[in-house]
Symmetry: C2
Subunit: 552 residues, 2 copies
C-alpha cells in the first residue's frame, strides 16, 4: 500500500505520441484528470483515436474533477468519452467549455455534464489536491497552466505554452512562475512539442508582415485557411481584411462555430456588418472579399480541398485569387497538402504555403529557449517532459539536464507509466492499462483491434470467399462451390483461376477422413488452407480467405 | 497529318507528380524514350506504380531506343515493363545499366535485353533524332543530360542536375551548355524538383563537417543509413569510416548490390580488408565499426526499422550507438521516419536526423539559382519544366519568365500532353493515354482499378457477406441465413446485430414479387440494398456487402 500522501503522475495519452493528451494525478485517494484530447486519423476508416481510459474507469469513484487547460481538440476532444464512463465536474475557461460543448452535444452527454467556468484567479479544491492557475501564452485565448498543491509539494503542469509576445493570446505570467520557483516546486511537467527547434518561438506578431504583404499585393479574392482553433491567427486575418476593406465570409462548420462562440464571449473581434455569406462573396468585386476557412491540412472533404479540385458547388476559386495556408503541416498530412496546392495552381490561383513562403505561421509552443526559461524560472526538484513524441521527450530531458536539473531527477515516462513521487523518491512503480481506443463513425464503442487488423489485411490483398453447400445427411456437395472475391483479382477476367480454385476447394474436402469432414469447422479450415496455398502460388497475393460450409 | 519534321514532346510520367519519370520524343516517325522510372508505394498492397505506356505500345514499331540518363529508380525502375511490351535497344552508362540489370533479371527480361554502354562523348543516331550528351552534377555518378538534334533544332533534356561542387559525382559541364546556348536551343526541358528552394543547391561536400563531427564524437558503433543509390554519400561515409579506423559492414540487399556494382566498375572506393559482415561487426570493439544500410525513409521492413523495434535478430542497436539518417525525408514517409527515430531513442541510441541536426543531407537537384543558371547558359526559345509536382513546374515557369524567356514560349504540360513543336509554333495538340499502372507483388499485369477501389472500401469499413440457400424447386430458404464479416464489427460481440441482419435479409426476399425473387441477381440485389440500409442505420458504417443466394 502506497503512502497516502504520495503523488502519482499517470499519463494516459500524449506522452510518446502526438495528440490526445490526458494526465491523471492522484494523491491520497483523490484523482484529477488534466485534459482529455483526441487524435484525428485518416486510415482504415478510423475517424479518431482516444486514450484508453480503462484504468480511470475502474477508479472512477476517486475522480474529483476534470481540468481543461484550453480548448484545442488534442486537449478536449474525448471529454465526451470520459463523461460517459467516469463522469466528474469539468473546469475550464468560458471559451474552452463553449467549444467542448459541441462534441458533448454530438455524443449526447451535454445535458448531464457538470461544466464550471473558471479563470486564472480561481482555486479549486479536490480533497488532497488543490489547484491554482497561471496564465501562459499559446495560440488559444486564456490557456492556463495548472499548479497542483499537494501535501508533499507543488506539481506544475505547464499545458501548451510559449513565452510569446505582441498579439499572442495572452501574456505569459513570468512573475507568477518565478514566484512559484521561489516557493519551491516538487515536479515540473512541461510541454515538449518543440524541443527540436533552437532559439525562441517566434511571437504571433511575426506572421503579420508576410500576411500584410499578401493582402497588399492581392488584386482579387483572398481565401485564407487556418485551424478553426487558432483564434489569434483568425483575429489577425480578420484585422487585415478590415484594414484592406475586404468583407469576410466564413466557410466550414467548425470555423463558423468557433468564430461565433469566440466573438460572443469577447475573445474575437469581428467588425460589424463585415461578415457575409458565400453567396454574397461571389457577387462582390473580387478585391473586396476574404473567405476564411479550414482545410490547411488538405483534409480530403474540407471545403478548401473540394474547391481545389472543383467539386465544391457553392464557391469556385478563380484565376488570380490568392489562397493562404496559414498553418504548419501536421506530420502525416504532407501529401494531402501537396495535392491541394497542386490543384490550386492548376486553377490559376496564387498559393502561399509553407513550401514557398516563410512567415505564414508561428507555433503556439515554446522552442528550446522558451522551455529552458520555464525550467530556470521554476527550478523544480523533479522534471517530467510531457506532450510529445518520444524523441521530443528525450530531447527535453537533455535540455533539463543542461539547464541544471539533476539527471537522477529527470524522468522520461510514457503513457501508462505510474510515476510515484514521495518526499524521498520519484520512480515508476507500475505499468497501468493505457493505449488507444479507435472510433469509427458514430460508434461509441471501441473499435476492436481484430477488426482493424482485418481491415489492414483486406486493404493489402483483398479477400476471397468460398461457399460450399452440402447435404446434411450424406455430406455430399449439393452444388458447385461459389467463389466470390473483392479487392483480390478482377473475377470476370480470371475465370481459369476461379474454376481451379473451386476444384481445389472440393479436392480439399474429399481428401479429409469422412469423420473429420463432417465437422463444419474442420472442413472450413481445410478449405482455407488449400485455397491459401493455391492463391499464394498462383497470384503471389495473400487475400483474407473466408470458407463457408453450409449443411442443409 | 503532322509535318514530318515537327517534334513531339510526350511526357508519360513525372510531370505533375513525384517519381516515375518517362519522356517520349518523336520526330518524323522516329521515337525515343528518355528514362522510364517507377514510384514505390505503401498503400493498399501496391508495391509500385509505373507509367501507363499504352500509347507507346501502340507505336512500338517507331521506338528506336531507350536512353537512361542515370541509374536512380525513378528513372530506370520500369525498364523491365517497357522491354516486355515495347522492346528497343537501351543506352546508359556502365553503372546505370548494371543497376538496371537487377530488376530486369527479377522480371525475367534480362536475357533478351539489348543493353549498350555509353559515355558522355558518344553520339547515338535514331533516324530523325541524333543524341549527344553533356555531363551534369547529381547524386549519381556520370549522370548525363541528353542533347537531341532534330531537323528543326536542338532539344535539351537536362535530366536531374545541380551545379555542384567538391565531392559531387561529376563536374557540371558549364562550358558545354554555354556552347550549346551559342549554337541556339529550340527547347529546354529542365528539372523542377527544387524550384521552391531559394539560392544555390549546397554541394555534396557540405555534409562533410557534420558527418565528421559525428564520427569524431562517437564512442560506440556508428549505424549510417542513406539511399542505396546515393553513391557519393556512401563514398563519404566509407571515407570517414576509413579515416576514423572503423571497419565497414554493409547490410541490406540493395545496399550490398549497389556498393558491389559501383566498386567493381570503379565508381566507389572501398578500402581493402575494411569490409566485414554483420556477425563480425558484433564482435569488434564498438568504436571500430560502421554499419552502412538503407532504411532512411523508415520503410517498415527495412533492416533499420526492424533494428529499431528490436525485431532484427542478426544485429541489435545498443545504448550509446550513433545512428545517422543521411537523407531527406520523401513526402509521405514522415510518420514512418518519426516512428523509427522514437524507437531508436527508446533503445538509448544517439540519433542524428533532419529533425534535430542540419547538414546531414545535400540534395542532388538544383535550387532556384542553379535552375536560373541553366536557363541563362542555354537561352532556349521554348521552355518546358519537367520532373516535378504541378506546383514545382508552375514555379519553374515563373522562374523562366524572370530569367528572360518569353511567357508565350513557356509551356507547363503534364503527363499525356502531346506538345508539338514546329518551326512556327509550339502547342499541346492532343491528350494521349497516360496514367499509372499499379503493381502488386510479382503480378506482371496491371492491377485493376476496380480491385483497388474495392481494397480502399474494404479498408475503410470492412465487409459483410450474407449467404442464403434456397430450394431450387420451391424457392424456400433451406436454412437460416449465414452472415460472415471481416473488418466490420467483431461478430462474437455483436450477436444482436447479426441476428437482426439475418431477419432483414429474409424479410427483403419475402417482400419481393415471387417472379422477381426467382431471379438470383435480383434477389441478391434486394438483400444488398436492405442490409446496406440496416447496417448504415445501426452502425453508421458502410461495409462492402456481398449477398450470395444459392439455389440447390
Amino acid at each position: 500500500m502506497s503512502n497516502p500522501t504520495n503523488v502519482s503522475i499517470i499519463p494516459l495519452g500524449g506522452l510518446g505520441e502526438f495528440g490526445m493528451n490526458a494526465m491523471l494525478v492522484e494523491c491520497g485517494g483523490d484523482m484529477i484528470l488534466i485534459d482529455i484530447g483526441m487524435t484525428p486519423s485518416r486510415r482504415f476508416g478510423i475517424d479518431m483515436a482516444l486514450p484508453d481510459i480503462g484504468y480511470l474507469i475502474e477508479r472512477r469513484e476517486q475522480l474529483r474533477g476534470i481540468v481543461l487547460t484550453h480548448g484545442h481538440e488534442d486537449h478536449i476532444g474525448s471529454l465526451w468519452h470520459v463523461l460517459k464512463h467516469a463522469p466528474a465536474p469539468v473546469y475550464g475557461t468560458d471559451l474552452t467549455l463553449e467549444l467542448a460543448k459541441n462534441r458533448l452535444k454530438e455524443w449526447g452527454v451535454l445535458a448531464d455534464a457538470d461544466l464550471n467556468v473558471i479563470d486564472a484567479d480561481d482555486r479549486l479544491e479536490f480533497g488532497n489536491i488543490a489547484c491554482d492557475f497561471l496564465r501562459v501564452s499559446h495560440s488559444f485565448p486564456n490557456t492556463l497552466a495548472a499548479v497542483l498543491r499537494t501535501p508533499i509539494g507543488t506539481i506544475l503542469h505547464t499545458s501548451d505554452f510559449k513565452l510569446g509576445g505582441p498579439l499572442d493570446a495572452d501574456q505569459f505570467d513570468a512573475a507568477g512562475f518565478a514566484l512559484l520557483g521561489e516557493e519551491g516546486i516538487l515536479a515540473l511537467l512541461s510541454d515538449s512539442t518543440n524541443t527540436e527547434s533552437p532559439g525562441f518561438s517566434p511571437p504571433e506578431s511575426s506572421v503579420r508582415p508576410q500576411l500584410t504583404e499578401i493582402f497588399r499585393s492581392s488584386r482579387r479574392r483572398i481565401i485564407a485557411s487556418t485551424f478553426a482553433s487558432s483564434l489569434r491567427r483568425i483575429q489577425q486575418l480578420i484585422d487585415l481584411a478590415a484594414e484592406f476593406g475586404r468583407q469576410i465570409a466564413v466557410a466550414g462548420r467548425s470555423m463558423v462555430n468557433n468564430t461565433r462562440a469566440a466573438s460572443e464571449l469577447g475573445h474575437l473581434w469581428l467588425p460589424s456588418n463585415a461578415t457575409i455569406d458565400l453567396r454574397r462573396a461571389k457577387e462582390l468585386p473580387p478585391d473586396e472579399v476574404m473567405v476564411l476557412m479550414t482545410g490547411s491540412q488538405g483534409e480530403p472533404f474540407s471545403a478548401l480541398s473540394m474547391m481545389a479540385d472543383g467539386s465544391y458547388g457553392r464557391f469556385r476559386i478563380e484565376k488570380g485569387d490568392s489562397v493562404i495556408l496559414s498553418a504548419r503541416v501536421i506530420p502525416g498530412c504532407e501529401k494531402d497538402v501537396a495535392r491541394v496546392v497542386d490543384n490550386l495552381y492548376r486553377l490559376g490561383a496564387d498559393v502561399y504555403y509553407s513550401g514557398n513562403c516563410d512567415g505564414l505561421h508561428a507555433s503556439g509552443h515554446g522552442y528550446r529557449e522558451d522551455l529552458r526559461m520555464m525550467i530556470q524560472l521554476t527550478r523544480p526538484r523533479y522534471f517530467i517532459p510531457i506532450h510529445g513524441d518520444y524523441r521530443q521527450l528525450h530531447q527535453h530531458a537533455l535540455l533539463a539536464e543542461e539547464s541544471g536539473v539533476s539527471p537522477q531527477h529527470i524522468h522520461v515516462i510514457e503513457n501508462g507509466d505510474r510515476l510515484e513521487i514521495s518526499e524521498e523518491r520519484c520512480e515508476v512503480v507500475e505499468k497501468v492499462r493505457a493505449g488507444r481506443v479507435l472510433v469509427d463513425g458514430q460508434m461509441l464503442e471501441r473499435l476492436d483491434e481484430i477488426v482493424l487488423r482485418d481491415r489492414r489485411q483486406l486493404s493489402e490483398d483483398g479477400m476471397a470467399i468460398a461457399i460450399l453447400v452440402r447435404c446434411q445427411e450424406t455430406g455430399e456437395p449439393l452444388a458447385e462451390p461459389e467463389i466470390v472475391s473483392r479487392g483480390f483479382v478482377y473475377m470476370d477476367e480470371s475465370e481459369e483461376l476461379v474454376n481451379q480454385a473451386k476444384a481445389v476447394a472440393l479436392e480439399a474436402l474429399k481428401a479429409m477422413p469422412p469423420e473429420e469432414r463432417a465437422h463444419k469447422e474442420a472442413a472450413q479450415e481445410a478449405v482455407r488452407v488449400a485455397l491459401r496455398r493455391y492463391f499464394s502460388k498462383n497470384t503471389d497475393r495473400r487475400p483474407v480467405i473466408l470458407p463457408v460450409v453450409l449443411d442443409v
